[in-house]
């Protein structure tokens, strides 16, 4: 083998800085190991084994990316594998976030798989590979690599969306996602072509230096390329007007997949979007900022107002994710390092909220993952106080009530917007947050209104029996001082009403999903009370952003 290597001419061998791609390799390696192992054994591998392997791979990726982060801190950012990948704070941040998301997604997926009795490793393999795609997009330093990362992420998600063969919506969602995904990636590819045509290269730093050197009078082609890129990214990030797929796909595909999609797909898309638009096309900010501004406003307002009238919780959270995309665009349009820091913080906070919310939904959805009407959540706090407390915490955090990460995220993004003097946008954003506040609150109200009575309408003058607010989950068992669930404590369930309206079939929380919930809730609350760690991490990520 060494002889062969020695034979190849010197200029052909490419120096590979392994540390920069190790996190991706960990994920891909994990996927391949699971694939090979399960195919070699006679009887199919137990799901619990596959999950533990996946979690192992994901934690390995997490550790490696943290190592990469510290290496970058000490030795500075550097471009690896001949310009394809960049290893800097930004990519490390994305890697950490994605691997953490995979850990949670795998746990939630495991619970769902056992509930649906689907055997076979495919789910975990696809999750791992698509996550690696997201990592590639985060670390890409070349438009081609961005495109490949996007495709890996998307194609895996098309299959994941179709995973629940028994449910017609799942197939329909996959089909819609595929057709529209194919269409928008074709547009995205053509955008890359135009950019390549006008700048002569697809390498991001090269583009940046090219734009810095020669002032381009007629950059029509470059701008056209940019526009098409924005279409591709807009689709993936579910920003208006490219959002039409989001509600149907979020509702159709299985809940764990939706959670994974809401978190990781958005992280990948926004990571690439931030790098491409802020670091390489930063000089053209004057041109693309108005477009992003309009998209952000549209996303904020449409996301909030349509979610108001939804009766299915998954569709509601789909529209709320469009609203959150609007908030993240707030950071992008600022075009400053503070903007990137805000967007990164928001992504980190939102990922865990999305994963947590959909984890709860996958449990409440029951067998067949079909029933997600808001009505199912009436009086949930009575039947499942921990579950209801967790969902209440996630919803309150998404609404931006102070001591949770949701609040700090909105604060960071607003700081960025104010820094760029786009006060009007900040006002619109907060107005949409208020509207959003209502439909989050409505679900919390539903969960805490008594199961039997119809909430308040029928209640006569007497003080209606109400529910002991459930305990909020704190991972180290440390009582959560502030969550709407009130305080931790053993006395959880209030006076049980005799006639709990619908048949309170026992909602059992699978162990793995429980752990996942604990992780998400813990992250939301702990980082809510001590936001310093995350803000410093996001701040470091942006400083090294310009290699």
């Amino acid at each position: 083998m060494t002889a062969l290597l020695a034979a190849t001419p010197a200029h052909l061998t490419v120096k590979i800085a392994y540390l920069s791609i190790l996190p991706m390799l960990a994920l891909l390696g994990g996927a391949l190991v699971i694939l090979v192992w399960s195919s070699l054994l006679r009887r199919p591998l137990e799901t619990v084994w596959i999950t533990s392997l996946t979690v192992l791979a994901a934690t390995a990726a997490l550790v490696l990316s943290l190592m990469q982060y510290f290496d970058v801190i000490h030795h500075g950012a550097h471009v690896a594998i001949d310009g394809a990948i960049v290893s800097d704070g930004f990519s490390a941040f994305v890697a950490v976030l994605v691997s953490a998301a995979v850990v949670v997604a795998a746990l939630v997926g495991d619970g769902w798989l056992q509930q649906e009795t689907i055997r076979g490793p495919e789910f975990h393999v696809l999750v791992l590979v698509s996550a690696s795609g997201a990592m590639v997009m985060g670390a890409a330093n070349d438009l081609i690599v961005v495109f490949l990362g996007l495709e890996i992420l998307s194609i895996a998600l098309y299959v994941l969306a179709a995973f629940n063969a028994r449910r017609r919506q799942s197939g329909e969602a996959a089909l819609k996602y595929f057709v529209l995904g194919g269409f928008s990636s074709a547009v995205f590819l053509y955008g890359i072509a135009l950019v390549y045509g006008s700048t002569g290269t697809t390498n991001l730093p090269q583009i940046a230096s090219y734009l810095a050197q020669n002032y381009v009078l007629h950059n029509g082609m470059l701008l056209a390329g940019l526009a098409l890129l924005l279409v591709g990214f807009g689709f993936k990030a579910a920003a208006v007007p490219f959002h039409l797929w989001t509600p149907d796909v979020y509702q159709g595909s299985p809940s764990p997949v939706t959670g994974f999609m809401a978190a990781v797909a958005k992280v990948g898309a926004f990571a690439a979007l931030l790098r491409v638009f802020v670091s390489s096309f930063g000089l053209l900010r004057a041109d693309w900022q108005p477009a992003v501004w309009v998209i952000a406003v549209a996303s904020l307002l449409l996301g909030a107002s349509v979610a108001l009238v939804q009766r299915d919780i998954k569709r509601m959270l789909a529209y709320s994710s469009i609203n959150h995309a609007g908030f993240i665009l707030l950071g992008l349009q600022a075009g400053s390092t503070k903007g990137v820091e805000g967007s990164l913080y928001y992504l980190f906070a939102y990922s865990f909220l999305a994963l947590g919310s959909f984890a709860v939904i996958s449990v409440v959805g029951g067998p067949g993952d079909g029933r997600h009407g808001l009505d199912r959540y009436r009086g949930l706090a009575r039947r499942q106080p921990w579950l209801a407390g967790a969902l209440a915490l996630f919803l309150v955090a998404q609404a931006g009530i102070p001591p949770t990460t949701g609040f700090w995220a909105k604060l960071e993004v607003l700081q960025a917007a104010a820094g760029a003097h786009s006060y009007a946008l900040a006002v619109i954003a907060m107005l949409s947050a208020v509207i959003a506040g209502f439909f989050y609150l409505r679900v919390v109200v539903l969960m805490y209104s008594p199961a039997g009575a119809t909430g308040d309408g029928a209640a006569t003058g007497t003080i209606v029996d109400t529910v002991e607010p459930a305990r909020a989950v704190g991972d180290e068992g440390e009582p959560v001082g502030v969550a709407p669930g009130g305080e931790a404590g053993s006395g959880a369930v209030a006076l049980l009403e005799a006639d709990t309206g619908e048949s309170a079939e026992p909602l059992v929380i699978p162990g793995t999903t429980g752990i996942a919930l604990a992780l998400c809730a813990g992250a939301t609350v702990v980082l809510g009370i001590y936001p310093a760690w995350l803000t410093d991490f996001a701040h470091q990520a942006t400083l090294l952003f310009h290699p």
Binding site: V14, I21, L32, L35, I81, D82, G83, A84, E116, T117, I118, V125, L126, V129, S130, D142, V145, L148, E151, I152, I155, A156, Y158, V159, A165, R166, R167, G197, S198, T199, T201, Y210, L217, H218, N219, G220, M221, L223, A224, L308, R311, P367, G368, D369, G370, R371, G373, L374, D375, R378, F438, F439, R442, V445, L446, S449, T454, G455, D456, G457
Partner: protein, 221 residues
């Protein structure tokens, strides 16, 4: 907005070299006729065949652009593999009967489709080709033709392409492996018969459940 600077389509004049022009016109015609046929053809099989025709036209253009290897790959992989797969699926699903083109259930879909795409085309044309630059930029990934004077004697494009794939784009090359893994695993998953396990009851969102208490009207006391 100086109109003068608007349109400098200087490249519109007929090039001197007659043969090149003829080949270009011929292959462009093939491409366009094929593309239009794909869209207009009622029978999907004929549509697939016109797709092959387009691919062939594009391959000719590749050859003309000294991308001989790509032309070959285009014919073999694209026309050979992908379109064949299409034909196989069309036959397999038996959807090869005539399909009425004229009636369009979604009101206004057709009109808007044509209008919008026409606008996009014109926009791209004006924005894209209006700009005069695109001059010789130092090649980053390696020059294609190291001997412009005698194109024939330059190193063949396969060698140059090969070198670039395994140096500049080595990482991209490795990543495509992940892509193929997904394709295979996806195909396996999608082909699986829906086994036993709880059939999902009909999703309750079809039945319009009137959530009266938590209904948003409650804001209006």
């Amino acid at each position: 907005m100086v109109p003068g600077a608007l349109f400098h389509f200087s490249w519109l004049k007929i090039p001197a070299n007659r043969i090149d022009f003829l080949t270009f016109v011929f292959s462009a015609a093939i491409v366009l006729v094929g593309a239009v046929n794909v869209v207009r053809q009622r029978n999907p099989v004929l549509a697939a065949l016109s797709l092959v025709m387009t691919l062939f036209g594009v391959a000719v253009l590749f050859v003309e652009q000294q991308a001989n290897f790509l032309a070959a790959v285009q014919i073999i992989v694209y026309a050979g593999a992908i379109v064949v797969l299409f034909l196989f699926v069309i036959m397999f699903l038996g959807v090869d009967r005539e399909e009425s083109i004229s009636e369009e259930p979604l009101r206004g879909q057709r009109f808007w489709a044509y209008l919008l795409m026409a606008l996009t085309f014109v926009g791209l044309l004006l924005a894209g080709l209006g700009s005069r630059f695109g001059s010789g930029v130092p090649s980053v990934a390696g020059t294609l033709n190291d001997n412009p004077a005698h194109p024939r004697s330059a190193t063949p494009d396969v060698v140059v392409l090969g070198k670039s794939v395994f140096t500049t784009y080595l990482f991209a090359f490795e990543i495509t492996s992940a892509l193929l893994v997904i394709a295979v695993v996806g195909a396996v998953v999608l082909a699986r018969r829906p086994g036993a396990g709880p059939l999902a009851e009909e999703d309750d969102d079809e039945v319009e459940v009137e959530v009266e208490t938590a209904e948003p009207e409650e804001v209006s006391t």
